[in-house]
């Protein structure tokens, strides 16, 4: 699991094939000055992937270096991803009685609901993935009765299983009082 920005490098070749060396990336924590002996220590195993922090040498390799060359020749694929601490947030306004949908940008790391006044009592909010199912605690709708303001909802384990492009359905039940809320979903790169 990564926290900040990272590049996921994947090798689609069979797992019996040799690993691919990225000879311009360093794994040493003190960079090229003291890490020369570790130059080339970054390998991508056949049939596997590695997550590498988005550091200077990795960024250069991804743009114009060894990694880009491997991508261009079809040897490797790579994608830029956000770790759990660096997620990307979208906002969806949802009204009682009208479900809204959104496409996931990756796994879900946070769901917040915000209302501009008190919701009805009772009131519930639910977020369901087309594949993952309910992503809120207990895999059921969360109780947001009389919520006035912001609530950070507890996630179920299934939230981490949501994949990019999975369709999410968001449903608010608040039949009286304030009948509208904003749901803010934060996504990060799915675990490898």
């Amino acid at each position: 699991m990564a926290e900040g920005l990272f590049i996921r490098v994947s090798n689609a070749a069979a797992d019996t094939t040799p690993s691919v060396l990225l000879d311009d990336c360093y794994l040493a924590t003190d960079g090229p000055a003291h890490g020369l002996t570790r130059s080339g220590a970054l390998y991508v195993p056949g049939g596997g992937s590695v997550d590498v922090a988005y550091t200077g040498d990795v960024a250069r390799s991804f743009e114009t270096g060894c990694l880009r060359g491997m991508i261009d020749t079809g040897t490797l694929t790579a994608e830029f991803l956000r770790g759990d601490a660096a997620g990307e947030t979208i906002a969806v306004v949802v009204d009682h009685g009208t479900a809204q949908v959104a496409a996931a940008l990756g796994k879900i790391v946070s769901v917040k609901i915000i209302s501009s006044g008190a919701l009805n009592d009772p009131a519930t909010i639910n977020v369901e993935g087309a594949t993952a199912g309910g992503v809120l605690d207990g895999n059921v709708a969360a109780d947001v009765a009389a919520l006035d303001g912001l609530s950070d909802l507890t996630l179920a384990d299934e939230a981490a299983e949501v994949a990019a492009d999975e369709v999410l359905t968001i449903t608010l039940v608040s039949a009286a009082a304030i009948q509208r809320a904003t749901v803010q979903l934060t996504f990060a790169g799915a675990d490898a």
């Binding site: 920005l5 003190d30 000055a33 601490a85």
Partner: protein, 185 residues
Amino acid sequence: MAEGLFIRVTHLGASDGSLLISDVNDATDGPIHENSKAGAVYVPESGTSDLVYTADVARSFESGVIRSAITEGLVAATFERGDSVGQTLSVVMADTDTIAIGALGKLVGASIVTSGASDAAATMTIQNSDGDDMVTAADGAAVTGLGALTLSEDAAALEADDVLTCAWSDNGGGQGCTLQLTFAG
């Protein structure tokens, strides 16, 4: 104030004195020429340090000294976006709509986008939970296309998770708009 990406490290008070982040260099040209500055980053007791998201900081945050200090409960660290790399939320609003948004940090940009001309008396009000105005309401008037809203000084004091109440009125004209708010750390 940071412009790009940075890590904000906060001393949690579980230990006395400043905390040394021993695997981070604050020199701009890295360890080759700045060995003497290795270990020059401290997090003061009861304070925070903002560290530019460079290679050594990224590695420390992922699996180095910062990560260890987080695990041991000595510091908290958050990934933040500076003013130049803010994150934008957009919501579609019909005439007379009021919606709530949870702030992602301080407000550094606000604009409305319309598909037709808004009324000359149209208003967009954005208030924090204390009722402070984040923008000048009159800026919503007579916008066709993109209209940047003028931020108040209070916008820079906004904090993450503060509730913003946004109200759009086209003065009965029926014009909707897309509100785009940009936040930074």
